[in-house]
Symmetry: C2
Subunit: 322 residues, 2 copies
Amino acid sequence: MIELKAYTAFVEQHLQTLNIPEKPQQLYDPIRYFLTIGGKRVRPILTLLGAELFGDAKETAISQALAIEIFHNFTLVHDDIMDEAPLRRNQPTVHEKWNSNIGILSGDVMLIHAYQHLGKIAGEKLPEAFELFNRTAIEVCEGQQFDMDFEERDDVSIHEYIEMIRLKTSVLLGCALELGAIVAGAGEDDKKSLYAFGQHIGLAFQIQDDILDLYADPEKFGKQVGGDVIANKKTILQLTAASKASPEQLEILRQLKDEQDNEIKVNRTRELFDHLNIRQDCQARMEEHYELAQQALKRINVPEENKKPLLSLASFLMNREV
Amino acid sequence: MIELKAYTAFVEQHLQTLNIPEKPQQLYDPIRYFLTIGGKRVRPILTLLGAELFGDAKETAISQALAIEIFHNFTLVHDDIMDEAPLRRNQPTVHEKWNSNIGILSGDVMLIHAYQHLGKIAGEKLPEAFELFNRTAIEVCEGQQFDMDFEERDDVSIHEYIEMIRLKTSVLLGCALELGAIVAGAGEDDKKSLYAFGQHIGLAFQIQDDILDLYADPEKFGKQVGGDVIANKKTILQLTAASKASPEQLEILRQLKDEQDNEIKVNRTRELFDHLNIRQDCQARMEEHYELAQQALKRINVPEENKKPLLSLASFLMNREV
């Protein structure tokens, strides 16, 4: 994993030295702030690794990597306003530190900045990169809208939920990788396979995120275990449970939503889920996507040696405990 | 002016038949709604006229025209949230008809849609169009931020105000025209001149907007005369007055800000402005930009005949009473 640290540092260094103007200060200070409060930088690293898979140096792909990371941060700034989230990466969110109007406008500028970085690609490759990026950006927004819609609905199916997380988070991983491949001049089939690899890793990652919320080791988990249960959030655990539960169990789940004692709420929910084998079901679903990701990577026509960094990153993402 | 009507209809027809998806409904209904509640469609018409100036048909430039109009509407949706405006074109704004979150997200998608239309240009012309569009989009956001900043400040200079309206509204007119010229394959000097024409027309238009607010014929003006005065808005009239007023007159202007009777407030302000010759000063400033616009157009190396529609549109914009 030492190798990944070098990539993170490479991305971080470029983010720290972006040429962001001074004025208007209320517009650019929030952008500088938000881009440098940290994050795993997984998406831009995927772009760099996507390019290197086909032999290109990470220097060629850095602009596309920055486009992806700045786009991702734009979505976070706007999502945080919509979700009224006070904290992001343990720091105040933009609308909290400044205000919502500043969050809206500086987010808008981040989206345009992302496009500016995207434009720093060889001219003949721009139309393809541009089309992929546009399509992905639309899908991410659609995913966010479905996510908000689902909060109001009681009949969300597992299929709809998976489609929502695919749009909201997975397509951007596929796009990040494929942009790297476009920079490196990869062939059509290889680009498609790499995109599929990213999408399945994204789905596996998101499913694991849901599982960890309730089943993480409290000693190692950075936040409150069972946070999603307490907030009555729809997760793959909850939807799988709802799809398997008897009418009596459904009634218990319904009642638990109103339970005021959080410890009781989390423990009883976990008991019921355990009884229904929910963790194993979701784990199987996660592994299925992890397996599909590995198969997609296998199909790519480059020396196996080249694939090691991506396999290493995937395994790092899958074996986390936080 | 019959000719312009045909262009408006051409743009309108394309806006009505955009292939906007059905789902998620909460994301796409607001976009469909906002793009079809009207507007003068000046910007996309500029793109079409910019292309035709160099002999290209309007069909080639329609995608760029739509990109400009959808971008403009994105800024309106987000600005309306920031300004808490309940109405736009006499219809409820998006955040008013739905809510702020939906306004933020559907605005974001409109911005991405604008880029999608921008992308429908011959590949070899994309880098140039993309760079111009990105730069302009950033400037428009900067202008909006300066506008919001100015609300909090008492020491805004005329120079700063002109720079703000240049960024917030004029650069987009220049960009609209230049995109048309890019589509039509115009030369470098001609593109620069056309951009300058648009920018000066934009400045003249905006200065006239400020003048009309206080000096329009109430019978013909669509809204309350003196609305900017009542709202204590910074306008070119107010800033010019502040730059010429004696300490005593400045004190009267300061006191008028707190005047509760709107009729007294508007009338006394107008009296003071008349005393200081403010209307004439601003009119002269406006005509200066109109003149610079016409000079820029003159420099363009195409038959004078080709320039008639643009001159006609400029004169239409300058001789309005609303």
